[in-house]
């Protein structure tokens, strides 16, 4: 409580907590992208900016150590993050000047979330386009931080995925690795089930710690859980919403398994649904965004189950979007005000029954 009271600017404090909660995820993203990049390097490095940076910073590519993973990962993530910050900052500055208000530092969080949701191969065009949409459509036209009904980063990523056909998670993850046709771990399962995972050397533990291919920040369940703990302890996010999403996913995945699909996603057990793909990251950092989710307690339960149901529906029924988290969260965010409206209308009816 003491961190959120009025002494000082509460909005900045919340932003600091949110950035702090993304620290473990960011560190995991750096190490994992370095690890994945170096693993896939057998075919020789490419010649784009990120690959050149990686070549320049790494000390030994044949026998990589922690430093090499960190340096190579940083050379993947940092140019993307800096570009996202630059684009976001420029638009924020323009909007602030046009609207005669101070610059809101929230664009830093948006840029970080946006970058962490992209694969390492995301082109700079995608970043410029996505961040522009995130700041302008996700935040600017609604009047600023806290006034939107969507998470701006989520909107930016969704627009990129819709606009650029290859960007929705099925495309190659690393630009610089010529001939590397790997895609994220979820798509691997989609194609070949557990056998494909075993072939790519993915087991439950490597998935838990995050040493699996996937979009930059979404691979490590451990890092996501640490971030969630920070957000839950400070009560920035609602535990009911998070619990509803996780419980919903486990319940529905188990139900789908029971219904007896032999192969494909239908037979994927619930723990793989949690470990692979960006569900955990999306549930904590995007689904629970306090601004873009339902604001009544019953509404939070409903929205959480809705997100889980949509994710499972799209995962099972639609092979184009194997991961399905981004469109599901977007739909649930759009429906959140409607859910709240229904909950409030029901509560007013209940209240009217017992008044004096």
């Amino acid at each position: 409580m003491s961190i959120l009271n009025r002494t000082g600017d509460g909005r900045r404090r919340i932003l600091k907590i949110q950035l702090l909660s993304l620290l473990p995820v960011t560190l995991a993203a750096i190490f994992n992208s370095g690890y994945q990049y170096l693993n896939g390097l057998a075919a020789g490095p490419g010649d784009d900016l990120r690959s050149q940076l990686a070549m320049g910073l790494a000390s030994s590519l044949d026998d990589p150590g922690l430093y090499d993973y960190f340096a190579v990962g940083l050379s993947q993530l940092l140019p993307m993050l800096l570009l996202a910050l630059l684009v976001g900052g420029v638009w924020e500055r323009i909007i602030a000047e046009r609207c005669h208000r101070p610059i809101e530092p929230g664009f830093v969080l948006i840029a970080l979330l946006f970058t962490l949701l992209l694969p390492g191969a995301a082109s700079f065009t995608h970043i410029i386009f996505g961040m522009t949409c995130a700041i302008l459509l996700g935040k600017g036209i609604f009047g600023g931080d806290g006034k939107s009904f969507l998470s701006p980063a989520l909107l930016g990523v969704a627009i990129v995925q819709v606009s650029f056909g290859g960007a929705s998670g099925t495309h190659p993850l690393w630009n610089g690795v010529a001939g590397y046709a790997g895609s994220d771990a979820f798509a691997l399962y989609h194609r070949g089930g557990e056998a494909a995972l075993a072939q790519a050397d993915i087991n439950l533990w490597s998935a838990f710690f995050g040493a699996i291919p996937g979009p930059l920040g979404t691979t490590s369940l451990l890092a996501v859980a640490l971030g969630a703990a920070v957000l839950l302890l400070t009560r920035v996010i609602a535990w009911r919403l998070l619990a509803a999403q996780v419980i919903g996913l486990i319940v529905i995945a188990t139900l789908v398994n029971w219904m007896g699909a032999e192969t494909g996603i239908g037979s994927m057990p619930a723990y793989w649904h949690l470990l692979l793909g960006s569900f955990a990251f999306g549930a904590v950092f995007l689904g629970c965004d306090p601004v873009a989710s339902a604001c009544t307690n019953p509404g939070r339960w409903i929205q959480g189950f809705l997100i889980a149901a949509l994710v499972m529906l799209i995962r099972v029924a639609n092979p184009i979007h194997p991961d399905a988290v981004i469109p599901a969260l977007l739909l649930a965010s759009i429906l959140a005000p409607l859910i709240d409206h229904a909950v409030i209308a029901w509560s007013i009816k209940q209240r009217a029954r017992r008044h004096v």
């Binding site: 409580m1 002494t7 931080d145 806290g146 601004v291 307690n297 709240d340 209240r351």
Partner: protein
């Protein structure tokens, strides 16, 4: 024996009656600067319903009548002079409703009843849908009601009997789980236990649980336990109770304790020699539900039971106003909201001034104090107490 409470009694030399404590009345003064007044004698009354009177809490001389914009009464200042004896009253002739109400009106104890919605002084001819005695105080560092009620047990019981006579509505005595005040079961009072955090002592919480206010125009009345004792004192002894118990607390107070002081005492007098140096934050009430006070000109309000003084970091003292921003509907607001109220929709309705929606969401059960915790926890820098009052004023005008 009255005053058997083993507490330090603070001598004061001046006090003030605040016009803002008497919501819903249009005060007409019955004295001028320089007049002698005796404790218990009427100093002002409602211009529209002259039966509603406000009495002097101590004997003394009216030193100043302070008026604000549009000649609104801000405060009536009295220099205390204890050589003047207090006024005596005769007990009500019968247990009839009219006689009991008249006694309360004549002695000024009627003005310690409050209505919900709106927090007004009730109309002498009105009928409540329920009557609540708030015999618990769950706020941090509040004076414990149990020893105070124990010390005045006969007074408390007599007043419960009297209050049972003023209306035939359900009559609830709300108390904490660990202490049930003794009262005559023949009075018909229903004892209700409230537990659960620092909001358990707020009348708004009791009303929401037992008699929610909706659309039909009903109102409920509530009264604090110390005001009940004051009524009992008048009934048993014929003389007004001159003291109230308040607690002086907070990290910046050298010796936190309970004190007996007069209603309306000057806060500067109370705090002299009690607090440490440095930038401080004064609150009338607890650190959670209290109303921030400006240092200097401040007086104890009617019904106030707490004075909390906390330190304020030096660099935060002259913080520039960051302006009203967006409401971030975080989960931390849920724990601070009155039970049965959706905090975020209500706060949004208040920010928009949407009186109809606010009423549907339960604003009629609330007054400023119920939203104080939300105001300090919300990052939008809105003063929801003030916004709520604006909405309540609209709803009251439309009744």
């Amino acid at each position: 024996m009255p005053g058997s409470l083993d507490l330090e009694t603070r001598k004061i030399t001046r006090l003030a009656l605040l016009g803002s404590d008497y919501r819903g009345v249009n005060p007409e003064l019955l004295c001028q600067a320089g007049d002698e007044v005796r404790a218990g004698s009427a100093v002002m009354r409602d211009a529209r319903r002259p039966a509603i009177q406000v009495v002097a809490p101590r004997s003394g001389i009216v030193s100043k009548v302070e008026r604000g914009p549009r000649r609104k009464l801000v405060a009536l200042h009295i220099d205390v002079d204890d050589s003047l004896v207090e006024r005596e009253f005769t007990r009500p002739a019968s247990q009839e409703k009219e006689a009991q109400r008249e006694f309360m009106l004549k002695t000024g104890t009627w003005s310690s009843l409050r209505t919900r919605p709106f927090g007004n002084i009730p109309d002498p001819a009105a009928e409540p849908a329920a009557l609540f005695i708030t015999a618990l105080d769950a706020e941090p560092l509040a004076p414990p009601p149990a020893p105070i009620i124990e010390a005045f047990a006969p007074e408390f019981s007599a007043a419960v009997n009297a209050l049972a006579c003023i209306s035939s509505a359900p009559f609830y005595l709300c108390h904490a789980p660990d202490y049930k005040p003794a009262f005559d079961p023949a009075s018909g009072a229903i004892s209700q236990v409230f537990d659960g955090g620092s909001s358990a002592g707020l009348p708004g919480v009791h009303i929401q649980a037992l008699c929610p206010i909706g659309f039909a125009g009903g109102e409920v009345w509530h009264i604090g336990y110390q005001e009940v004792i004051a009524l009992g004192h008048l009934l048993l002894h014929g003389k007004p109770w001159l003291q109230r118990v308040i607690s002086l607390g907070g990290e910046a107070v050298d010796n936190p304790r309970c004190l007996q002081v007069s209603v309306g005492a000057a806060i500067d007098d109370l705090l002299a020699g009690e607090i440490c140096d440095g930038p401080l934050q004064l609150r009338a009430g607890s650190a959670i539900y209290g109303r921030p006070l400006d240092p200097g000109q401040a007086w104890l309000a009617a019904g106030q039971r707490q004075l909390t003084v906390t330190r304020r970091a030096a660099d935060e003292a002259p913080a520039e106003d960051p302006g009203v921003g967006a409401l971030i509907p975080g989960d931390w607001l849920e724990a601070l909201a009155p039970p049965g109220v959706f905090p975020v929709p209500l706060l949004r309705a208040l920010q928009l001034g949407d009186a109809e929606r606010a009423r549907e969401l339960g604003a009629l059960e609330l007054v400023e104090e119920d939203l104080a915790a939300l105001s300090s926890a919300c990052v939008s820098n809105s003063d929801y107490g003030r916004l709520l009052r604006r909405v309540l004023d609209q709803l009251e005008a439309a009744r």
